[in-house]
């Protein structure tokens, strides 16, 4: 089977890989690059667990071929912070119990990262409307909304989201 070479920047680092055209971006990120923080829920484009940022835009990695990311810039949850050095959005989720099983969380974080870059001070309705993109089965969403509001407070004391 034919393979193609692609060049992708993931979390600021350049990668060159030879892959099949049919390889999904979600599988590329998880298994070619080895970043397993991006999770797979449906492979149908509905749940949003696989949300990453592609050139800064929230994108469902399960609905994209990795070859389409050639020359593009991808950001995954691993770019936000480390377990012992979480960024303000992550810290806010921690403080406000914005996660339970943690599986949808990376997708939520990336979705909200895009929102807060677009608009550093969205109101609750705006947050909810954007949050409607993704499904969480554990939290009932309210604590996620609260987390984003807390993140806005934390970020006021800091520079822009990384």
């Amino acid at each position: 089977m034919d393979t193609l070479q692609i060049n992708v920047t993931v979390n600021g680092r350049a990668y060159q890989r030879r892959i099949e055209p049919r390889l999904l971006l979600s599988d590329f990120i998880r298994h070619e690059i080895g970043l397993t923080g991006t999770h797979i829920g449906c492979e149908n484009g509905v749940c949003g667990a696989c949300t990453v940022l592609l050139d800064g835009l929230a994108t469902r990695a399960c609905c994209m071929l990795a070859v389409q990311a050639d020359g593009r810039r991808i950001e995954t949850v691993e770019s936000l912070g480390r377990a012992n050095n979480l960024n303000p959005l992550q810290r806010a989720f921690w403080e406000m119990h914005g996660l339970q099983c943690g599986y949808c969380t990376p997708g939520m974080l990336m979705l909200m990262t895009e929102l807060l870059r677009e608009n550093p001070n969205p109101d609750r309705e705006t947050i909810r409307l954007r949050l409607n993109d993704n499904i969480c089965r554990c939290t009932g969403y309210e604590d996620i909304v609260n987390s984003v509001q807390r993140a806005i407070e934390l970020m006021r004391g800091e520079t822009a989201v990384r």
Partner: protein, 825 residues
């Protein structure tokens, strides 16, 4: 027969830690231990496990609901480069036994369908290949010839199935899996003498947990040791994991099951026999580690964990004072193609079958039927959420027909706060509660009177606003008797459902707690840490948590049935008690004080009342580990500092007979939900204006995580009430095969906020008085929401007896009601 009422000589408990003590860690909103790794994207979920030379499996799913497998031509698949093994049901049946089943007699289910397929999605062939992509390519090359059999999709028809339509002919001539009749108390008498009898037919449709992560396993077989290792995102491995070994036809000590983080479960990962056996089968056949992860279609069609699917005919007897005296129901439950938990979901309901009310007699006729659908398993509530729906709907029916007030009626029928512990007609016990208190708290938080006034005003404006009231029980901590007590012949009548914890303190004074059950969002690390920190007055930051595989595991039944927090609290408390004794002995020796005079304070152990006389736990630990010859010469005082404790059910008794099941689920929480909804009567759409949820789960270890469960459970309950439905057509074809059609609530479908109130009636039986809280929201939201919708449409006289109540269904009911009322002015 178990007489309903207060138990005057309550069983003695084993509670050591009283609820009313001063606590410094327990009860706080401590941030979770689990979060940093999940937030950083560094959780360890099943698909994150990679082993060298690992291959990938996929399953050819049956396209047919019911058929004999005539032939399988797998030659083209086997020839595809990159394909390592292609295994049919016949081959699998040589290498594996049936999957574990709690029903007795068991119903045989194979990891790969053998001889015939019984539901759409059932595995027919397992393919192992270098990648999942290739495995799916290979599946496309397999040719299966089926001989169709009549498909049964209607549960009422299933009762009368015969011939080829029977799924399990060895079980009987039709598709009745079980038919039981139960009488708890003087049912006939009460109905005969009743002043009022209220009747309803109710329909609870099939929904399911559908966590965002599916089930999966990674298995490897070590030729050198002859040992299997299976990583799986399920639970109960340290309880009945050996049954997987049996299914694999290997000795149980030649199987090690390793837990991983699970991305949600809601019951569906309770015991993942099938994916474990499939992965291991693939591994043995291919000589390589094999990963089998269900994709979403595999999961929706064949998770083995659909929820209850019931039709109830229920009757309620009331006396002349509007006191409910007896409840009688006939229920038909569509179990799908197999019967792994037997009638367990009905036994579960028996634990709280009178709700919070003083009903003194219950009669139940239960039909469990087989149909060509995915089997039922565990879904948040495990059947008792349906019991709650039945009770609250018939209560609302009585209120409606007798022209009563929904709040006053409930209050008048509640079991009173002074009547605990209370025995219900099935023999189970309610440990503590304050149902009027919960109702009052909800009324106040909602500002019920004000909403009733707003409702009146809205009606004059032609708007349909409704307030729902539901008061329901949340059982916690099942006893193992629940697994077999409804079997005609009990079979393996186990009575243990323990939970263990191991605590190690290292020479520098840091603690590691080992848990023997997994994390699936239920905050086990946080709970265990908080309890140990409380017990030892340690800094939670000095505690970490590990998870034991079966090689190192102690008995651990795992999360489910709202039991885990209670049980792990008991286990950690038990282990802590042992370690504290040893720490005190060593510290006492170091301080030259009597160990009985010592207390734990701020990471130190010191003489009570003597602030200067203390020594840090770290110093004591160092001493205990390394300085044996400096310690008293007592052979019991061994080097080291660790303890394990297995905590058994705090209060369980054996069933006596079929009218008295003993105490099997006594840790009884309670909820009162009051949603306020507005119905767009023209489109049948429902939106939330307010929502109050009062929960009593006894002492809360961490109120923050309890609130999280309340919100999440309520969201699932709202989904069950309005949206979620696995729909099958008459031919057993599943119509809702993806998240496009199986609709779960997003944020827009939920109330803008759920206002939570906590009422605390501690359990007299558990450590610290904790009760379960995991399932509650889903167990009360459905009747509460349906009641609110009915209340909104009261001017039209709409009655809702089915969930989910989708816009199309609701609009149809409204149209019918309008037609009954005559043409509009």
């Amino acid at each position: 027969m178990a007489e309903a009422g207060k138990i005057h000589s309550p069983p003695p408990g084993r509670q050591k830690e009283r609820p009313d003590q001063r606590l410094s860690v327990i009860g706080t909103r401590m941030l979770r231990k689990e979060d940093p790794r999940f937030l950083a994207g560094r959780g360890r979920f099943i698909d994150d496990i990679t082993l060298p030379n690992m291959a990938h499996a996929a399953v050819l799913r049956s396209p047919r609901a019911h058929a004999r497998i005539r032939s399988i031509d797998k030659s083209a698949a086997e020839a595809l480069p990159g394909v390592v093994a292609v295994i049919t049901g016949e081959e699998a049946a040589r290498e594996t036994g049936p999957l574990p089943c709690f029903a007795n007699p068991p119903v045989e289910q194979r990891c790969i369908a053998f001889g015939k397929v019984r539901h759409v999605g059932e595995p027919v062939v397992l393919v192992v290949a270098d990648s999942r992509y290739l495995a799916e390519d290979a599946i496309g090359l397999i040719n299966v010839v089926y001989e169709p059999l009549p498909a049964v999709s209607d549960m009422m028809e299933a009762i009368n199935s015969h011939g080829d339509a029977v799924l399990h002919p060895e079980r009987g001539p039709n598709n009745v899996a079980e038919h039981r009749d139960y009488v708890f108390g003087p049912v006939e008498e009460e109905f005969a003498g009743a002043a009022h009898v209220i009747k309803r037919r109710l329909r609870w449709s099939r929904s399911g947990g559908q966590p965002i992560e599916t089930a999966g396993a990674v298995a490897s077989f070590d030729e050198g040791s002859g040992k299997f290792t299976i990583y799986v995102n399920g639970s109960m491995y340290n309880y009945i994991g050996f049954t997987i070994a049996t299914a694999l036809k290997v000795p149980s000590h030649q199987l090690n099951i390793v837990p991983v983080d699970a991305g949600g479960s809601f019951g569906s990962k309770l015991f993942l026999h099938k994916v474990s056996v499939l992965a291991a089968l693939g591994s043995r056949a291919s000589g390589r580690p094999v990963k089998y992860i269900e994709d979403r279609i595999d999961n929706i069609t064949a998770s083995d964990n659909h929820g209850s699917d019931r039709i109830y005919d229920v009757e309620l007897a009331l006396d002349a004072n509007h006191q409910m005296t007896a409840l009688r129901y006939k229920v038909v439950d569509d179990y799908g193609a197999y019967f792994q938990y037997g009638l367990g979901t009905h036994g579960n309901g028996f634990s709280q079958t009178v709700g919070p009310y003083k009903i003194r007699a219950v009669g139940a006729e239960i039909y469990a039927v087989f149909t060509n659908k995915c089997q039922q398993g565990a879904c948040r509530g495990f059947g008792s959420e349906v019991t709650n729906f039945m009770i609250e709907r018939i209560v609302d029916a009585a209120v409606d027909e007798l022209g009563l007030d929904p709040v006053a009626f409930r209050r008048d029928n509640f079991i009173r706060p002074e009547e605990f512990p209370y025995q219900i007609p099935t023999g189970n016990l309610y440990d503590s509660g304050n149902y009027p208190g919960a109702l009052d708290m909800a009324l106040e938080m909602l500002d019920y009177k004000n909403w009733r006034e707003k409702q009146q005003l809205a009606r004059t404006q032609g708007r349909y606003v409704g307030i729902g009231v539901a008061s329901c029980q949340e059982k916690g901590v099942f006893s193992a008797t629940e697994f077999w007590m409804l079997n005609r012949d009990p079979g393996f009548a186990l009575t243990s459902s323990p939970e263990s914890a191991s605590v190690k303190i290292d020479p520098t004074g840091k603690a590691v707690i080992s848990l023997h059950a997994p994390c699936w969002g239920n905050s086990p690390e946080t709970v265990a840490t908080m309890v140990l920190a409380e017990q030892l007055a340690m800094d939670p930051a000095d505690i970490s948590v590990a998870y034991s595989d079966t090689d190192h595991g102690l008995p651990g039944t795992g999360p489910g049935g709202s039991r885990y927090t209670v049980m792990v609290t008991g286990a950690v408390t038990g282990a802590a008690a042992i370690i504290k004794e040893k720490l005190k002995r060593v510290a006492g020796h170091m301080l030259e004080a009597d160990s009985r005079d010592l207390e734990f304070r701020s990471g130190k152990i010191g003489v009570a009342g003597a602030p200067g006389l203390e020594v840090a736990i770290a110093e004591v630990a160092m001493q205990a580990h390394f300085f044996r010859l400096s310690l008293p010469d007592d052979p019991e005082l061994t080097s080291g500092l660790e303890a394990s404790y297995t905590y058994d059910h705090p209060l369980a008794t054996l069933p006596k007979n079929n009218s008295d099941f003993g105490i099997f689920y006594p840790i009884m929480g309670h909820m009162c939900h009051m949603p306020v909804v507005e119905v767009d009567a023209k489109t049948g759409q429902v939106s939330f204006l307010d929502y109050v949820a009062v929960h009593d789960c006894g002492t809360m270890i961490n109120p923050m995580t309890v609130d999280g469960h309340v919100r999440g459970g309520t969201a699932q309950g709202i989904g069950t009430a309005l949206l979620e439905h696995f729909q099958y057509d008459r031919n057993g074809q599943l119509l809702t095969t993806s998240f496009q059609d199986y609709l779960m609530p997003r944020v827009a479908e939920l109330p803008p906020t759920i206002r939570i109130g906590h009422l605390v009636t501690p359990s007299p039986y558990t450590e610290y008085g904790v009760k379960g809280a995991g399932e509650g929201g889903r167990m009360v939201a459905p009747p509460a929401v349906v009641a609110a919708i009915e209340d909104a449409l009261r001017p039209l006289g709409v009655r809702i007896d089915t969930v989910p109540i989708t816009p199309a269904r609701l609009r149809a009911l409204i149209r019918e009601a309008e037609a009954r009322k005559g043409p509009r002015r």
